[in-house]
């Protein structure tokens, strides 16, 4: 495999780039990646996010994202936006300040919410804020 340029958290068309990355490259990214399907089931979960959360990747893959993996995002600020985008068949690319409860500590993060109509996976990208 040729060396891939590592995409930045705020790169354009990040969702497409992530789709093309294999697991090893996804794990090497400096930010957390959660990819889930239209039913909200987690299909991709990278090592960075696994490390943030303290949960092994195989504990998370196959689980519903907003009820089991990231219940803290199950509100109108995050989950609702994915639902609205899907309902209106619109793309979603929004970056918000949020607080995750990683290992029960409040951690300031930037979340990038990505959805492309017709794409197999939607993504929440997690970057720690200073």
């Amino acid at each position: 495999m040729e060396t891939t340029q590592e995409p930045a958290f705020d790169a354009a068309a990040l969702a497409e780039t992530l789709g093309a990355l294999d697991d090893a490259h996804l794990d090497a990214l400096p930010f957390g990646v959660i990819g889930f399907d239209a039913q909200g089931v987690v299909r991709r979960y990278n090592a960075t996010e696994s490390n943030y959360a303290g949960l092994a990747i195989d504990r998370v893959i196959g689980q519903p994202v907003f009820t089991v993996v990231a219940p803290c995002m199950n509100n109108f600020m995050v989950a609702q936006r994915f639902e609205d985008a899907a309902e209106q068949n619109q793309p979603l690319d929004a970056t918000i300040d949020y607080v995750l409860t990683l290992r029960m500590k409040p951690v300031k993060v930037k979340l990038r919410l990505l959805a492309v109509p017709g794409a197999p996976l939607r993504h929440v990208i997690v970057n720690r804020r200073p």
């Binding site: 949960l55 219940p71 803290c72 509100n75 409860t101 409040p106």
Partner: protein, 437 residues
């Protein structure tokens, strides 16, 4: 060792999945440990995108929390149990109201544990239950002290009954032919509310309320009143003949009961749930409940409905310069002034840190502006005395009127808030009104 790591991970996941919010805080509210459901519930309330302090996160909706926690002297115990916090009013038919329940347990001098739950649905069920209970209270409990009156279809007392004189001390001439609002203190009911209750009784079979009432000799009692229609419409739905009941004659039955003793017994409990801990006036949740009810009436029979938001000017500076006890005294003074200025039928509540709301049924914009201005002047002309110090402060106010273009309470609040912002921008110590959209 891997065994331990796995156990740790399972424990972490157990906390991730706990269906209630759990937060461990320091005495000043600083968040030490927090689980995901807490973040789910609290993040929409955060004003700065952070979650560092629980009291700060909840300040907009439970402004007296830090005070409650600070005032709790024992080293261990419940600071508050299942305190209901109204998050938003919701828009009828669109988005629902939301209510959180908060319990705060002091573990020791260094730590408190908060439990948060979304109890919106339980609250709705509970409201129904309470209505049923109030109804049962009204009809079943010790009927020794009651007055019964027949009302015509406009709510005027139709006939004399000795029980009326016995309970209220009024005589026949003062009562017969008068609207039933004579059984209320002047400031506890409006002509529109009088009509509302008849309509509600007609629609649901009964309407009841409880409030302070005055006897002819000036003494007062806590009275429950229930109105029930005498004839139930059994005719199939269709146009009602125009002359129906126009001849007069009794259309409703009104029963008033003195339940002062019963109220005394439940008052402490009632106050804890509906009153702001610091100021003693209605809290945010009680305000939303009363305002929603008034808005429902407004929808059925539109009439002027005004909202005033008051905000103590430069309150942070008062706190910073003179300390929190003085700030608290200022808030208490403002609350007392408001409670002493408005009518019993108005809803006066503390809805935020230094923000107070007053809902005025059957009040137009000029009248609301006038009374808001009276409050402003009264505050500007008095000083609060705390420990020998005399503190002068001012308030700004925003006034808005409900209109058909607004979806609900949230919109009305937003408009009053915009007016309040205008008053602040205009230099404070003034009242502004919102222009109709």
């Amino acid at each position: 060792m891997t065994h331990t790591a796995e156990e740790f991970e399972a424990l972490i996941q157990f906390l991730y999945l706990a269906p209630v919010g759990l937060v461990q805080i320091a005495p000043d509210g600083q968040i030490i440990l927090i689980n995901p459901i807490s973040a789910q519930l609290l993040m929409p309330l955060s004003r700065d995108g952070g979650l560092e302090n629980l009291f700060t996160a909840l300040e907009g909706v439970a402004p007296d929390l830090a005070h409650r926690a600070g005032a709790f002297a024992p080293d261990y115990g419940m600071v508050c149990e299942e305190m209901k916090i109204q998050i938003k009013a919701g828009v009828p038919g669109k988005s629902g109201a939301q209510v959180l329940s908060l319990s705060l347990l002091k573990l020791d001098r260094q730590r408190m544990m908060a439990v948060l739950r979304d109890v919106t649905q339980e609250i709705q069920r509970d409201l129904l239950l309470r209505q049923n209970e109030a109804w049962l209270n009204a009809i079943l409990t010790g009927i020794t002290d009651y007055a019964i009156a027949r009302l015509d279809r406009d709510g005027r007392v139709d006939d004399w009954n000795e029980s009326i004189g016995h309970l209220t001390g009024l005589d026949r001439d003062a009562v017969v032919g008068q609207p039933y609002s004579i059984f209320y203190p002047d400031d506890a009911i409006t002509p529109e509310r009088t009509a509302d209750r008849l309509r509600e009784a007609e629609a649901s079979g009964w309407s009841m309320d409880e409030c302070w009432r005055t006897r002819a000799d000036g003494s007062r009692f806590w009275g429950s009143a229930i109105i029930a229609p005498l004839r139930h419409r059994t005719e199939p739905a269709g146009p009602v003949p125009l002359d129906d009941g126009a001849q007069g004659g009794p259309a409703f039955c009104l029963v008033i009961r003195d339940i002062t003793e019963k109220r005394d017994a439940s008052e402490k409990f009632r106050q804890a749930a509906t009153c702001d801990h610091l100021t003693g006036i209605a809290n945010r949740r009680a305000f939303f409940e009363a305002a929603e009810l008034e808005l429902e009436r407004w929808r059925r029979a539109p009439r002027p409905l005004a909202l005033i938001l008051f905000d103590a000017d430069n309150f942070k500076r008062i706190n910073d310069t003179h300390g929190h006890p003085v700030g608290d005294a200022v808030l208490r003074h403002l609350a007392t002034t408001l409670a002493g200025t408005f009518r019993q039928v108005d809803v006066v509540a503390r809805v935020g840190g230094e923000e107070f709301a007053v809902l005025l049924p059957s009040t137009d914009l000029p009248s609301a502006l006038a009374v808001a201005e009276r409050v402003r002047r009264k505050i500007a002309a008095t000083c609060v005395e705390v420990n020998g110090e005399r503190i002068a402060y001012t308030v700004s106010g925003g006034v808005a009127l409900m209109d058909a273009g607004m979806a609900g309470l949230d919109d009305l609040l937003k408009r009053a808030d915009a007016a309040l912002y205008g008053a602040k921008a205009a230099g404070r110590n003034c009242i502004e009104s919102a222009l109709a959209a």
